[in-house]
């Protein structure tokens, strides 16, 4: 009798089983990522900058201002000022390390806005399809073809003049918040396109039909069934978007939309340009922030490409 009972595969502890699977896939992912030398190098660079951004005062003390400047104007590097000083006598090592916090924070916030807007529009358009998809994608294409950087240049001062430059939120000044918003508003379109195309293939899969059969509404299916399946893509895209956000922030600050009271790397380069440092041959004014910008963008690009190759089902291996 007992022999005739079909062996039901029992999972004694569903939760433990689920965790075991998660740990296994994480370990698998770690192994594949660690084989990518470029990705690992990028990750190490990013970790260094993350530490600098989290606690700049631990390394160089508080941010130097005009009144707290510690040296003479435009001094070449010396033992007292390893990176030299700017035209106000501020130590450039101090400015550059504090700049890490501001550049990375703006990049981070702008990336979150970009990804959230892009993911929502991509998932909704791809899953619902039909007329909604049509309208959303026309809208997306419009933003794709628009020279968004030029749009950002106009939007930023308009918003700034409307809300006033001295407003503050969570210790971040309005100028920087405007930059964050403007980058977010103008760069979500590419993300939306990528995610939509992935959603189009996921929604045809069997488990989506099953969810619908047992009565799942569109909102529930998008949240619980579609979203988890595009998370990989979102992660890879987030890292690449971060590189773009730092790039755009640096450029916007350079042309004068930054905040002199919270200097990012782009803002330091703007001050260098304004004080005529390139023509004076003051290379030490330009080299540290410029090198940091390039290193961070390069690192994000390396990590992002590695993640994209591992996590994005559609991207052919690049190497």
């Amino acid at each position: 009798m007992s022999a005739a009972t079909p062996a039901v595969p029992t999972v004694p502890n569903l939760r433990a089983e689920r965790w075991r699977l998660r740990i296994r896939s994480a370990r698998d992912f770690g192994r594949r990522f660690s084989r990518r030398a470029d990705g690992v190098v990028g990750l190490v660079i990013l970790l260094v900058f993350a530490v600098l951004a989290i606690a700049p005062q631990l390394f160089v003390g508080p941010l130097e201002t005009v009144t707290r400047a510690s040296g003479a104007p435009l001094q070449a590097p010396s033992s007292a000022h390893l990176f030299g000083t700017d035209e106000l006598g501020r130590d450039l090592l101090n400015l550059t390390i504090h700049g890490a916090r501001i550049s990375m924070a703006i990049g981070f916030l702008a990336t979150i806005i970009t990804i959230v807007v892009g993911a929502i529009i991509g998932i909704v358009a791809g899953f619902l399809g039909g007329q909604i998809d049509n309208v959303l994608m026309r809208f997306t294409d419009f933003f794709l073809v628009l020279p968004t950087f030029v749009l950002a240049i106009i939007l930023a001062p308009v918003i700034l003049d409307v809300i006033g430059a001295d407003a503050e939120l969570l210790g971040i000044r309005a100028t920087l918040l405007v930059i964050v918003t403007v980058i977010g508003v103008t760069s979500w379109a590419a993300t939306a396109r990528i995610i939509r195309s992935q959603v189009l293939s996921i929604r045809e899969r069997m488990f989506v039909d099953r969810a619908r059969v047992i009565g799942g509404g569109p909102g529930h299916i998008m949240r619980r069934h579609i979203l988890p399946n595009v998370v990989n893509l979102i992660v890879a895209n987030t890292v690449l978007t971060f590189a773009g956000a730092v790039f755009t922030e640096t450029t916007l600050s350079f042309i004068g939309l930054g905040d002199p009271f919270q200097p990012s790397w782009g803002q330091i380069l703007n001050a260098a340009q304004g004080s005529g440092a390139p023509g004076l041959g003051a290379w030490w004014y330009i080299a540290p922030p410029a090198a940091c910008v390039v290193l961070v963008i390069l690192a994000f690009t390396l990590v992002g490409n590695a993640l994209d190759d591992i996590l994005n089902p559609k991207s052919a291996p690049r190497r």
Partner: protein, 324 residues
């Protein structure tokens, strides 16, 4: 090429341009300041006078459709308003003076970058994993990570401030008189060299990376295997089979990229004080000269839309499959 394909793409481009004009209108309305606000500073102002001014400027009419229609018709007839900074000068005149320096800079830079970038990318992709690929791809990736002004500033320090080979700023030497056209051209060329190098280098990185992956994709195509089976030399396969096909996607990419080139050129112009649309934009930005900013945005976005349309049409000519 099918007439229907042409008509559809043309209609799409027109619709996009119309959307840009509407966006510009919305931005104009969002801006702080209006004629009545300026008048309100006068304490002796009567309500009747305010009404009269509002009527004179058409502000008493509803936003949509009356004001929008008025704005669209004057924009289409080439009236972009007047600059705030250069008092009384029409926006179109101010932009007109700055248009050609930018076109020259971007045009030459695109030409150099397309030739060099595609060549480097094709070589790297064809010899994937080799020494040339590693060096070429490494340099391309670093260039790709550099905002244009980060490329330009070191160039000034090295080649203008230290060696003194090139001037640091401007398009022509200020106050110089030229005996002949040739001297004028030489002076222009010396001023153009560094900005041109900056924008070209910035572009080469991106183009060569994309061309490399495009070539790598064609390497596994059947027609390349066939060519190899026919006994063609490696060079011949690259030149007559892989390269032309890898070029196809680059047409679209170069057109889409134009928007970013414009952004990069703006910062390069600032670094070298090149008297083009970029320096105009940044000056207008610090003076909050909104009519100029809007005019530049309108001009650049319409140019980019048209470039994309042109790229699509060229692509359609080159690759018959997309017309279906």
């Amino acid at each position: 090429m099918g007439g229907r394909y042409l008509a559809r793409r043309g209609a799409q481009a027109l619709l996009t341009i119309f959307a840009i004009v509407v966006l510009n209108f919305v931005l104009f309305r969002m801006m702080p300041g209006s004629p009545e606000r300026v008048l309100l500073r006068n304490p002796y102002l009567t309500q009747a006078k305010i009404e009269q001014v509002r009527k004179q400027w058409g502000l008493d009419k509803p936003l949509i459709p009356d004001q929008l229609v008025a704005y669209t018709t004057s924009t289409l007839s080439g009236d972009l308003g007047y600059s705030l900074k250069f008092r009384g000068t029409p926006v179109t005149d101010v932009i007109g003076q700055r248009f050609w320096p930018t076109i020259l800079l971007i045009g030459f830079a695109e030409a150099i970058a397309i030739v060099v970038g595609l060549a480097v990318g094709a070589y790297a992709g064809w010899h994937r994993g080799g020494v040339g690929d590693r060096i070429g791809s490494g340099i391309s990736l670093v260039l790709y990570s550099m905002p244009y002004f980060v490329i330009g500033m070191p160039l000034i320090i090295i080649f203008a401030s230290s060696f003194g080979w090139f001037p640091t700023s401007g398009m022509l030497t200020v106050g110089a008189t030229y005996p002949g056209l040739v001297d004028r051209l030489i002076d222009f060329g010396r001023h153009l060299a560094l900005p041109l190098a900056t924008v070209s280098l910035g572009l080469i990185g991106g183009y060569s990376i994309l061309m490399r992956s495009s070539i790598i994709e064609t390497r596994s195509e059947d027609y390349v295997t066939t060519a190899r089976a026919k006994g063609l030399t490696d060079r011949r396969i690259l030149r007559s089979h892989a390269f032309p096909n890898a070029l196809l996607p680059m047409v679209t990419i170069i057109a889409i990229n134009l928007g970013y080139v414009v952004a990069g050129a703006i910062t390069a112009e600032v670094v070298f004080n090149w008297p083009g649309l970029g320096t105009l934009t940044v000056d207008a930005l610090s003076a909050r000269d909104y009519p100029i900013l809007e005019g530049v945005f309108l001009l650049l976005s319409i140019t980019v839309v048209l470039a994309n349309l042109a790229a699509d049409l060229v692509y359609g000519l080159l690759d018959p499959r997309v017309r279906a």
